[in-house]
């Protein structure tokens, strides 16, 4: 008969070839991920997003800075040009061309505009006729071959930067010749003010420079670069006037810069983020990211280790609890697992434990009832057999015929032998087996008593061997026939004798040796009596073998298979 197991009942099995991993393996994997995940996050953040962020931030700020400074620089220069134009167009002083008055006028203007290093006045021939402060090296000289001495009428001319021969500082000249005027005014603008303006335009992290058309720096927060005429022409080549260009700071520079050309003067504004400051900021963020990654790793690792210990601890508790149930130590499942899931599982195990304990109690009770019943049955069978044996004994006493009396006596002893088996069964612990040695000794003793052969001594030696109930009855009958036969014949004419009984076990089975010290069979040999027929038949039924020896008595060696 086959039974179909409902779906969801019974162990679930994985399909496919997937390897089974224990919780420990998964925990190792989890801890590994706890290490790798924050480091990967750091690498991605540090290597990509931070750079990307700075790229965008830098670009936006750079464009804003150069655009703003370019506009302010133009305003600065337009203001300076307006100053020179204002001087040149003041007809009150330039009308008569008197050098003395011109010098006074230029001096007064110079006092009002300290951003100018000097003002000079050049006549139509290109000769310097007045200057403030006085310039004895050039006054009276024909300077017509100098660029700044030849402005077109009405068009202000701004020169390239150069080192002033009087002050040694970088200056630009602004030349203005008003319409229909024979005189030109040249103002030398001190560029150090432009540097001051640049210094105030942006934060300290930015390097901001203004270069003239040749690339020579004319304004820089670091005045030394202006004084030293540093040249950044390589950064500002190309690019349209008014447009902002991203430029390279050259080999080895980690970042770029931005350049914006001022169309009117050919100047360029170059803004670059100070590489050192840039790297400091980057490194600060990377350090923070690394610190965060390490912290995350530490927290994740700690949580993973904590969980691993708690889960494995709960599993160990659970396993010990289940083993206690297996070993019938009910009520020992006093577990307090850390996780809710394990608590629920422990609750289920406890329910199962209660059910098992209750079921076992029921079964124990049922077995006890069955034992009582069986004991009672065996007791009654034994009593009934004793009644039969007693009836046969009573019947024997009425027999006249000695053979009939003997037959009844033998039958009575046979029934008694059977009754003894049942007595052993209900007296014992196990209703299916009896202790063979005890049974044989009891059986022999009762037969000796029954035949009134008190002088016969039973010598027993044997191992503690148990035999099933259904095989005990035939062997008991066999023993009954052999001992009865010895009592009837072996000690005839003697007041005493010995019956030797040895019980042992070997590879072949149970070895039973029983012998008497009688005369053995006479010349008539063994008669085919009922007793011998029973012996042979029962031995055969048990699948055993028997060897009979007649020498200084009669001995039987019986081997029963296990």
């Amino acid at each position: 008969m086959s039974t179909e197991v409902p779906e969801g009942i019974g162990p679930k099995r994985r399909t496919g070839s997937a390897r089974r991993l224990g919780i420990r393996a998964y925990l190792v994997l989890l801890i590994s991920l706890a290490i790798v995940a924050p480091l990967s996050t750091y690498a991605v953040l540090g290597g990509f997003f931070i750079n990307s962020f700075f790229e965008r931030e830098f670009t936006a700020r750079g464009e804003t800075v150069v655009r703003g400074v370019a506009g302010s620089s133009l305003a600065f220069m337009r203001s300076a040009v307006a100053v020179v134009v204002g001087i040149a167009e003041d007809e009150r002083f330039f009308g008569n061309g008197d050098p003395v008055k011109l010098k006074e006028h230029l001096g007064a203007k110079l006092a009002l505009h300290p951003e100018f290093e000097s003002f000079v006045c050049i006549d139509a021939r290109g000769v310097q006729i007045a200057s403030s402060p006085p310039d004895p090296n050039d006054d009276g000289l024909d300077l017509s071959d100098r660029d700044y001495a030849k402005p077109l009428e009405g068009v202000p001319l701004v020169s390239e930067s150069y080192i002033s021969s009087s002050s040694g500082r970088p200056v630009v000249s602004i030349s203005v010749r008003p319409d229909r005027s024979s005189l030109a005014v040249v103002g030398s603008l001190d560029l150090s003010l432009l540097s001051d303006f640049v210094a105030q335009s942006v934060g300290p992290d930015w390097t901001l420079e203004i270069a003239d058309g040749s690339g020579t720096i004319i304004a820089d927060r670091d005045q030394r670069r202006v004084q030293e005429r540093a040249n950044i022409g390589n950064l500002i080549r190309g690019g349209e006037a008014g447009g902002t260009t991203r430029v390279s700071m050259g080999e080895g520079s980690p970042i770029g810069a931005f350049s914006r050309r001022l169309g009117e003067y050919g100047w360029s504004v170059v803004a670059s983020y100070d590489p050192a400051a840039f790297l400091v900021t980057i490194n600060r963020i990377r350090s923070s990211a690394l610190a965060f990654a390490i912290l995350a790793f530490a927290i994740l690792g700690a949580i993973a280790l904590f969980m691993a210990r708690r889960i494995l601890g709960d599993l160990d508790l659970l396993r010990s609890g289940v083993r206690a149930i297996r070993d019938r130590h009910y009520g020992d499942l006093a577990l307090e697992p850390a996780f809710i899931e394990f608590r629920e599982l422990i609750g289920d195990v406890r329910s199962m434990e209660s059910a098992v304990e209750e079921r076992e109690a029921q079964l124990t009770d049922m077995v006890r009832q069955r034992d009582t019943l069986l004991r009672e049955v065996h007791h009654r069978v034994k009593n009934n057999m004793q009644i039969i044996s007693s009836l046969l004994s009573l019947q024997k006493d009425t027999m006249v015929d000695p053979e009939a009396a003997i037959a009844l006596t033998e039958s009575s002893s046979r029934v008694q032998a059977l009754a003894l088996v049942h007595e052993f069964l209900y007296r014992g612990e196990d209703f299916s087996r009896i202790r063979l040695g005890d049974y044989f000794r009891e059986l022999c003793s009762s037969l000796i008593a029954a035949y009134g052969a008190q002088g016969v001594q039973l010598l027993y030696k044997g191992d503690p061997i148990e035999l099933e109930f259904d095989r005990a009855i035939p062997i008991g009958l066999v023993m009954n026939e052999i001992v009865t036969n010895s009592l009837k014949h072996a000690f005839r004419g003697r007041s005493g004798g010995k019956i030797t009984l040895t019980l042992g076990s070997s590879e072949e089975g149970i070895d039973i040796f029983i012998a008497d010290d009688g005369p053995g069979f006479g010349s008539g040999g063994i008669k085919r009596s009922l007793g011998f027929q029973l012996i042979d038949s029962l031995i055969s039924q048990l699948g055993g073998s028997m060897k009979r020896t007649i020498e200084n008595g009669t001995a039987y060696s019986i081997v029963l298979p296990i």
Binding site: G47, F48, N51, S52, P136, N137, D138, G140, L141, D142, L143, D145, R146, Y162, I163, S164, S165, G168, G213, S214, G215, T216, R224, Q227, E228, R229, N231, G233, N234, R237, G250, E251, G252
Partner: protein, 366 residues
């Protein structure tokens, strides 16, 4: 998403290249970079910078990136010593410079660094076994040629001399050679005067009025380009027709810039040939013009060559003496205009020529 994909290889490349960064080799530079007389140093600094930028962009020396560490000596002894102290403190074993012979005299006595001066050309610096190598031959030969030319070919009978005492060593050597050859050729030096270019409120008019009072037929000026231009302009006003003579020191871009057409007729001695058609020189001029937006001076060219010599001698960890030894191991140099060779004292021999300014340009009189 495309941007992300593009940046991943860039990121990998950046990380990969991050592990094999080149070694930075610092080359010192000491010159007069500020003030009225800074043209020599500034144009020299630009020439050296151009050579280093080219070396870096071409990766000429594998595994090395060069940088120029500049120090301003302001043509003053105290500043020069401070500049050397600064470079030595930074562990820089060699420097391009100094540029004037007065500063070169100090460098010759300093054993802490190896100096490669592009322009110092005083005769008295020759034949010294020191840590100073020079790229210009002593100017005495040029001064002799100039004196001889002025007296013989141009018929100058008398001459007066004005020089900048801030570079006295060079000036006196030059003047001595000029005077000897000029007088040998039949000329006569009437007067000599000096001034300090670093003096405040410097006025050339009274100096020249006194110096030219004897109406010499020629005026030799031994000064920077800008000062020489001012002097010649004023001298021509005082004494029209005077023959202007100048030392090679003045042959900078400032001279023509400040002097303009008034400098026509000025005679120079110089080892630098501004009209050279050497391919290497023309390439250099083109590169310099593109980089700095102006023409190079002799100081630019010699500094360019000096940087080329040093960047090859400074690979690996070297001492000042080691650099000197390396240069002397192969003393012949392929110059932009001509090859030359260092002698045992670190001096070179170059041809010196006489030039005249015509149409705001230098023309050879050879």
């Amino acid at each position: 998403m495309v941007g992300v994909r593009r940046r991943i290889p860039l990121l990998i490349l950046t990380l990969a290249l991050g592990g094999c960064s080149a070694r930075t080799v610092s080359i010192g530079f000491i010159g007069d970079l500020t003030g009225k007389q800074s043209e020599l140093g500034v144009s020299g600094r630009n020439g050296a910078l151009l050579r280093i930028e080219q070396a870096n962009s071409r990766a000429e020396i594998r595994g090395a990136v060069f940088r120029l560490v500049t120090e301003d000596d302001a043509n003053k002894a105290q500043s020069f010593r401070a500049a050397v102290d600064s470079l030595v403190a930074q562990g820089i074993p060699a420097a391009i410079g100094p540029y004037t012979s007065s500063m070169a005299e100090l460098a010759s006595a300093d054993q802490r660094m190896f100096f490669l001066s592009p322009t110092a050309s005083a005769e008295s610096l020759s034949g010294r076994y020191d840590m100073l190598f020079r790229l210009m031959t002593p100017s005495s030969l040029g001064a002799e040629a100039l004196g001889k030319k002025a007296a013989s070919a141009l018929g100058a009978k008398t001459a007066s001399i004005l020089y900048d005492s801030d570079n006295e060593l060079y000036a006196k050597d030059f003047i001595a050679s000029f005077r000897a050859s000029f007088e040998t050729a039949g000329g006569r030096v009437l007067a000599s005067a000096s001034y300090s270019s670093s003096a405040r409120d410097l006025q050339f008019a009274p100096i020249l009025a006194k110096l030219l009072a004897d109406r010499p037929s020629a005026l030799l000026t031994v000064a920077t380009g800008s000062d020489t231009a001012l002097v010649i302009r004023r001298a021509k006003q005082i004494l029209p027709g005077i023959l202007p003579l100048a030392s090679g020191w003045a042959a900078t871009t400032d001279f023509l810039k400040f002097g303009g057409t008034a400098m026509d007729g000025t005679m120079f001695e110089q080892q630098f040939d501004p009209a050279s058609v050497s391919p290497a020189y023309l390439d250099f001029v083109a590169a310099y013009l593109a980089r700095f937006g102006s023409m190079p001076s002799f100081s630019s060219m010699y500094s360019y060559e000096a940087a080329g010599i040093l960047l090859r001698a400074m690979t690996g960890r070297v001492t000042p003496a080691g650099i000197k030894k390396r240069i002397m191991a192969s003393p012949r140099v392929h110059g932009l205009q001509a090859d030359y060779e260092f002698d045992a004292y670190g001096d070179v021999a170059r041809e010196d020529s006489v030039f005249i300014v015509r149409g705001n340009k230098y023309q050879s009189l050879q």
